[in-house]
């Protein structure tokens, strides 16, 4: 698949991702609704992208698509943020989103200390920014989303379910 933008031809950067899409930031709320359709309660999402790519912005849009009316802020210093959803959402049993950021972790082999086991269950969707900084084995991501900066208002977003 190639996309043409202003006379340049851009090949998708993650051809191996099951799904990719060029997203104009104006269309982000719409895209978030589409993405949410591919998520399930209990999912643990690895959210990958450089600083400024829009990871937190995407989580904000996803939370909104799931009916969360509160503030979604950067978890860089708090490490874990939790957003309680109203019971009236499309996912049966989904009660909350946990939004993590491992940006401040380095060479960490073991994230047991965050007590994630008690937090991650079928009532939660968990998003982790900078998942590269921790061991996959310790939290078993089920979905990966990658965001690539294309221009100030465009991102390429790829996503797939991990088996």
């Amino acid at each position: 698949m190639t996309i043409t933008i202003t006379n340049k031809t851009i090949r998708p950067i993650y051809p191996t991702m099951q799904k990719t899409k060029l997203v104009n930031l104006e269309k982000l709320p719409l895209f978030a609704r589409e993405l949410v359709g591919d998520l399930r309660a209990g999912d643990r999402v690895a959210l990958i992208g450089e600083m400024g790519a829009g990871k937190t912005t995407l989580v904000k849009a996803i939370a909104k698509a799931l009916g969360y009316a509160g503030m979604v802020k950067s978890p860089t210093f708090t490490i874990l943020n939790e957003y309680k959803l109203s019971t009236d959402n499309d996912f049966s049993g989904l009660k909350k989103i946990i939004h993590a950021d491992f940006y401040r972790f380095e060479n960490l082999k073991d994230i047991q200390a965050l007590d994630l086991e008690s937090e991650l269950n079928n009532e939660t969707i968990f998003f982790a920014e900078w998942p590269e900084k921790v061991n996959k084995v310790d939290w078993n991501p089920t979905v990966v989303i990658k965001i690539i900066w294309i221009s100030p208002t465009v991102r390429e977003i790829g996503w797939e379910r991990l088996d």
Partner: protein, 358 residues
Amino acid sequence: MRVLGIESSCDETAIALVEGKGERVRPIWSIIRSQADLHSQYGGVVPEVAAREHVEILAALVREHLSRDGAGIDAVAVTYGPGLAPALRVGVETAKALAWGWKKPLIPVNHLAGHIYAAWFGEDEGPKWPFLALLVSGGHTELILVRGHGEFFKLGETRDDAVGECFDKVAKMVGLGYPGGPRVEARAESGNVEAWDWPRPMIKEDNYDFSFSGLKTAVLYSLKGREKEFDTPGFIEDVCASFQAAAVEVLVEKTVKCALAQGVKTVVLAGGVAANLVLRAELTRRCGEAGIEVKLPPFQYSLDNAGMIAAAGYFLAKQNAVTGEALLAVKVDPKADLHDHNNNQQDHKTDLPDYAKN
């Protein structure tokens, strides 16, 4: 009344002893065993390491500085949240054990309230009521109306990134290492604040909220592709100075606007970013122009410390001290909100003008 404070919500392990009398409080001793050195090689907080270190450091501090029977200590104050659960637990369980063993009350304290109470160390008298607190740290950027001890009302906050985090990330962009804030400030000293014209997000908007993610990305985009220029003398200094000027301007302008609208005569600066000299100077200057007094926390009490926790514990003892079963039941709350300290929250809210009700 002598209050022991224990703080272990994140990076720092700290204990302190303060003496409170009437409306004044003074530190007797305060020890912070920073884990920053350990973390520099890791580039940031490593919670598992943090928890292990908290246990070892706190045990050592207790052994070195406290007597077995707790003589001379009337109460134990401890941070119960917000923060990282494993780190918080180390402090809380230690505090519970000490308070229980010494048969003294335990006062659970909100870490953010602690930061606000650091202002009481700077002056002979504490700030006058009501005051507006500008709380600025790596994880928080908020405007909080404080009407009395334990009466906190959040009027505005960042909608995305905290300003301390923004400093940290700009430091990363120009390769300055951890902790980023102080390094950006140091480089900014010899930089030109007008070299770059970056946005002051939300500065004109009619609300008390902030947004720093736009400033972060503005700096990021400006630097894209210009990494080769980082070695040019003055380049990084100019970036730091211009960025810092933008961040400080937004904080100061919105704080002054809020204070004037609320009719408060005192502004209190709080949080780790309160150590920033340019912010302290600019806030004092602009508030002075508007006839508003500014209370600054001393540097050593701006960053995380236990003295502020003990001070907050002293003033909030009447409302929050627990003994017996209630003491044993004290738990950490990683997501603790300042409002937890408020009594009769609903009643107070009806007194507030419309734009202060949230």
